[in-house]
């Protein structure tokens, strides 16, 4: 069994995670975590939909930011996809998508302030990088034959419009719709840094222990996402897109001088700004690297590896929930609902909730990341098992799980897992804002101390770390010949 490279790599990652556990800070520090968890669930079942006058507005803004951000992201992502062969473009896209929406928001907040543009760009920029990559992959996969059958002399644009776009249209549309769902999640969590979306009110209610109010917001959010197929219709899209910009809220006017100041002063390293020159830069950078970047990287990597393996274990446990090889339709529907809930909840919100309930440590982050990502992968491979035809006399129950299904889906399971590796790391870094000592913690501290030069260096470090893990993940997938369609 250990001769199989997929099994071997699984055990290597498991071992890394176990070693990581020795160093990780895993604890429940709340004195009465279960009572708090109980109160929280009590809040969910007794939602208070009339708590805040702003709730409906917040929901509307959440949708508006998602629509405008994703639309701009997909438009510019598409343009970038057309020139994606160029290496500088690839590097540029890898870079902008390696920086999390919340980091982008924190950056724009410093000079646009509470203007709608902050939220829109925070979604549009990283999404453009992701769209560029995925669109170009889809375009590459288009059937080349029709292009060859074209009359010679056909213009490039026309050839592209007739042979590539129609072939890729459905895939691109599906992916874009999926991204819109991600956009709703991103939009919601932007509220945590002060934009007027759902997260703003969710944070306020949670921190005050108003669980019924928070429960109502979560329920509305799930309903919003679960009903997407009903209200996101091709015919209605133009209306949404035209209307969305008007529902972003007013915010505060932009002062353009601030933009200039940010780029020419704020982010210039302090020693250079104060005229100490390069001689002062080295100790400044050393201090930053040793006291903040290194511990941040270490904690980010440890937490990522543990969360990755936890995600894997949870997905393998979760997929039978929706697989039609087990149980009846009743149980499967319940399984669907459970998976929809865990994967619709942004990791950030899950981690925030668990941190409130269990106290600060890496544990809430690991559980949040595993629940969300495990829910997604579990859903994907569960659906995959539904297309498997087993022989009529195949074993049932646990034997069916271990002998028939897991071996068949294991490769795509690993492909999804390694695909999400980078995504998990992106999220791990950002969870630092909540007080776990990953890179985001140090970025947030630098921003809280109005030291944007330090924040920018740390964000750069985070981006490079993400790019590195992305490359490693791709290398492993290629090495093991794991193929998968992008799915987030």
């Amino acid at each position: 069994m250990f001769a199989s490279p997929t099994v071997r790599i699984s055990f290597i990652f498991l071992a890394i995670a176990l070693v990581g556990l020795l160093f990780a800070d895993i604890a429940i520090t709340a004195s009465n975590p279960w009572r708090d968890l109980g109160n929280f669930f009590l809040g969910i079942v007794t939602p208070n939909f009339f708590s805040s006058e702003g709730l409906l507005t917040a929901l509307l803004r959440t949708v508006a930011f998602a629509f405008v951000g994703v639309a701009l992201g997909s438009f510019f992502g598409f343009l970038l996809a057309l020139v994606y062969q160029s290496l500088p473009v690839r590097i540029f896209c890898a870079f902008i998508r390696a920086i999390h929406e919340l980091f982008w928001a924190l950056i724009f907040l410093q000079f646009f302030g509470f203007h709608p543009l902050t939220g829109v760009l925070a979604i549009a920029i990283p999404y453009a990088g992701i769209f560029a990559k995925v669109y170009s992959e889809i375009l590459e996969e288009a059937d080349p034959e029709p292009g060859r059958a074209l009359p010679p002399g056909t213009g490039n644009i026309v050839a592209f419009l007739y042979t590539r776009i129609p072939d890729c249209w459905v895939k691109m549309r599906t992916y874009t719709a999926y991204r819109l769902e991600c956009g709703l999640r991103s939009s919601a969590i932007l509220g945590f840094v002060g934009l007027p979306t759902l997260g703003f009110y969710l944070e306020a209610s949670f921190s005050q222990g108003l669980y019924s109010d928070a429960g109502a917001m979560l329920i509305l959010f799930y309903v919003l996402i679960a009903t997407m197929p009903l209200w996101v219709r091709p015919k209605l899209l133009p209306i949404y897109l035209l209307g969305a910009p008007f529902f972003l809220g007013e915010g505060l006017p932009i002062v353009w001088g601030n933009v200039l100041r940010f780029f020419t002063e704020d982010i210039v390293p302090a020693p250079l700004r104060n005229g100490e020159g390069l001689a002062g830069l080295t100790p400044w950078l050393n201090d930053l690297m040793i006291n903040e970047a290194m511990p941040g990287i270490w904690n980010t990597v440890v937490l990522t590896q543990i969360a990755l393996v936890a995600t894997g274990i949870l997905s393998l446990l979760a997929f039978p929930l929706i697989s039609n090889h087990f149980g009846g339709p009743m149980r499967r529907s319940a399984g669907h609902v459970a998976l929809v809930i865990v994967r619709s909840t942004p990791e950030y919100i899950l981690a925030y909730i668990l941190l409130q309930l269990w106290g600060p440590s890496m544990l809430p982050a690991v559980v949040a990341l595993a629940l969300h990502n495990g829910g997604i992968i579990g859903h994907l491979i569960g659906r995959q098992t539904n297309s498997l035809k087993l022989r009529p006399d195949a074993p049932t129950g646990f034997n069916r799980y271990t002998w028939e299904l897991v071996p068949r889906v294991y490769r795509s399971f690993l492909a999804f897992l390694f695909y999400r590796w980078e995504i998990i790391m992106r999220e791990t870094a950002i969870l630092g804002i909540l007080g776990i000592y990953t890179l985001g913690f140090y970025v947030d501290s630098a921003i809280q101390n109005i030291r944007f030069d330090r924040a920018m260096v740390l964000i750069l470090v985070t981006a490079l770390l993400n790019i590195g893990v992305d490359a490693l993940g791709r290398y492993i997938r290629r090495k093991l010949a794991l193929q998968t369609l992008p799915n987030c």
């Binding site: 800070d25 520090t29 709340a30 004195s31 009465n32 708090d36 405008v68 639309a71 701009l72 997909s74 438009f75 598409f78 907040l109 410093q110 000079f111 302030g113 509470f114 203007h115 709608p116 543009l117 829109v120 419009l161 776009i165 249209w169 945590f192 840094v193 002060g194 703003f200 944070e203 306020a204 921190s207 005050q208 222990g209 899209l237 133009p238 897109l241 035209l242 969305a244 910009p245 008007f246 972003l248 007013e250 915010g251 505060l252 006017p253 932009i254 002062v255 601030n258 302090a270 106290g359 600060p360 440590s361 007080g435 947030d444 501290s445 921003i447 809280q448 101390n449 109005i450 030291r451």
Partner: protein, 291 residues
Amino acid sequence: MALNIIRKLMLSSFLCFTAAAASAETFVFTAIPDEDETKLVERFRGVADYLSEQLDVDVRYIPVKSYAAAVSAFRNNQVQLAWFGGLSGVQARRLVPGSEAIAQGVEDEAFETYFIANSNTGIAPADELSDLKDELQGKTFTFGSKGSTSGRLMPEFYVRDTFGSKPEDFFSRVGFSGNHTRTLRLVEAGTYEVGALNFQVWEKELSDGNIDTDAVQVIWKTPAYPDYQWTIRGDVNDRFGEGFKQRVTEALLNLDNPELLESFPRSGFIPASNDDYEPIRKTAEEIGILD
């Protein structure tokens, strides 16, 4: 079809840039989010109404999610007035030349931080922090916000000064709860064993009967230091007319609505100046929060 969508996207993105262009001359202020949001919104909406009435301009309060966001909004001239803590005020005035501290609460001249502990730790109150060294060492500890004066700067200063080590080395776990109310709740619930908070928040919650005194108690009080103040930008007169700064100052100093004052809670506002906060600046530089 593809083209259709593209056309619509461009149109809507254009609209998004123009949507926020128009905004009348409104006097905007903010405050550091040092307490629960509903309380802040209630308190500062009252202040906004009061100022609007006194100054005869539109006055708007915007809530923010962090101390830094309050400072940035002030610096970026998106707000012209702010209710800052000692540290955030120093940061803001350094970044905005010409800005001034114009009023502080009566209590802010001599502000204090309370160290509180969960009763399960068995720590008894002491007059000197150094007496608590053995009891406190290795406990879990929470500050308030990273940018708070009473919730972070002063307690960190006294921990370093008294115990000669960084908080994260002295305590087994150091967290930032976010604000004073939350520090209180977390220590009360035992999530953290020890915490440090704004004494006014403690006293107010105590008198409102919101504290379970069997679960949490004050174990040490810091010496007095200057804290909260109203800070205004230097360029408001250019924008809102000659003498505007003076009128704002007077309006704040004359605020005597007991309900509004109670919500801060302050017994009244008195004049303040930038120099009053020199001690805070020195302390911040000493522990490396300010460059």
